[in-house]
């Protein structure tokens, strides 16, 4: 419970207060590295999906081409 309270209290104030730009601009803000990692992960997930999509589209096209070229070989193959 105490553990819980220590975490929650600062969170209730998120977005309400803005850091003074001057105070400690010199050092990296806290959690900066994690954020870069997070955005890299987002980028990776999106790229992976794009890649999967285009691969699947290519496969469908290939199979469609194969089927259609079959038809030319033996017309109206009944």
């Amino acid at each position: 419970m105490i553990h819980w309270a220590t975490i929650v209290t600062p969170l209730t104030r998120i977005g309400l207060t803005v850091q003074d730009s001057e105070s400690d601009a010199a050092k990296w803000p806290r959690g900066f590295g994690y954020m870069v990692a997070a955005y890299a992960v987002v980028w990776l997930i999106l790229m992976a999906y794009f890649w999967a999509l285009s691969r699947r589209a290519r496969r469908i096209n290939d199979r469609l081409d194969t089927l259609l070229s079959d038809e030319k070989v033996k017309p109206a193959g009944r």
Partner: protein, 227 residues
């Protein structure tokens, strides 16, 4: 459609995303308590909202299929489930990274986290079942799942209000209590994600249509003639 997206859409989206990243990191001011770790919020929440939107679209498509049995309902449905899963994956991946910096742990058994994971797993189940069915049975079953799982969307959405939770509650509609510059950056991110969501669903549903045509053609070949 696809060519158009590739030639015009991708460059535009890339530029917009670059602009968004700039806004997030440089335009929006630094939050006092959380500092840089608050920066996740822009993508994390935007992705979550888009995922909810996607699953809601799937829900509507499920009803649409039962009301009017047009193929397009099924195509758009699977497309939005899949794209919704991608966005949920973003939510679930960025969440722990932020939690590590803010809560000092990768994962807590917080209701919001759990319900979001559940939602994700439900729709994974959807895709698994979809893969093992075919024909009308598949469309009927998928529509049923989209509707039933859809009931869980509001539960997940409201979970921060229902349960005692340590997940930040941004007070009803996200972004209403933000500092103005933060708010602009946030809504820009949301808009951008939805802008990405729409062509993705369009492309994926056209692909589904092509795959169906392919299967029909294939079976026709197999049986010779119409049957």
């Amino acid at each position: 459609m696809k060519a158009l997206f590739r030639s015009v859409g991708i460059p535009i989206l890339s530029i917009l995303f670059a602009l968004d990243i700039w806004m997030i990191f440089f335009y929006a001011p630094m939050e006092k308590e959380l500092q840089a770790s608050q920066k996740i919020f822009y993508f994390h929440v935007a992705a979550a909202m888009t995922a909810f939107l996607a699953f809601t679209v799937a829900f509507v498509c499920g009803i649409g299929w039962y009301v009017r049995k047009r193929e397009v309902w099924d195509d758009v449905q699977v497309a939005s489930v899949e794209v919704g899963l991608v966005f949920s994956a973003i939510v679930l991946a960025t969440g722990p990274i932020w939690a590590r910096t803010a809560w000092n742990t990768w994962w807590t058994w917080d209701p919001r986290l759990v319900t979001m994971t559940i939602l994700f797993l439900c729709y994974v189940g959807y895709l698994v079942v979809r893969a093992s069915l075919s024909g009308d049975a598949r469309k009927n079953a998928c529509a049923a799942m989209a509707i039933l799982f859809g009931i869980n969307i509001p539960i997940t959405w409201l979970s921060i209000q229902w349960w005692r939770t340590i997940h930040p509650d941004i007070g009803g509609l996200p972004g209403t209590r933000l500092e103005p510059k933060m708010r602009i950056a946030f809504w820009f991110s949301v808009l951008l994600f939805i802008l990405l969501f729409i062509p993705l669903v369009a492309i994926r549903s056209r692909m589904e249509r092509a795959a169906k045509a392919l299967r029909a053609l294939h079976r026709e070949r197999l049986f010779g003639g119409t049957e």
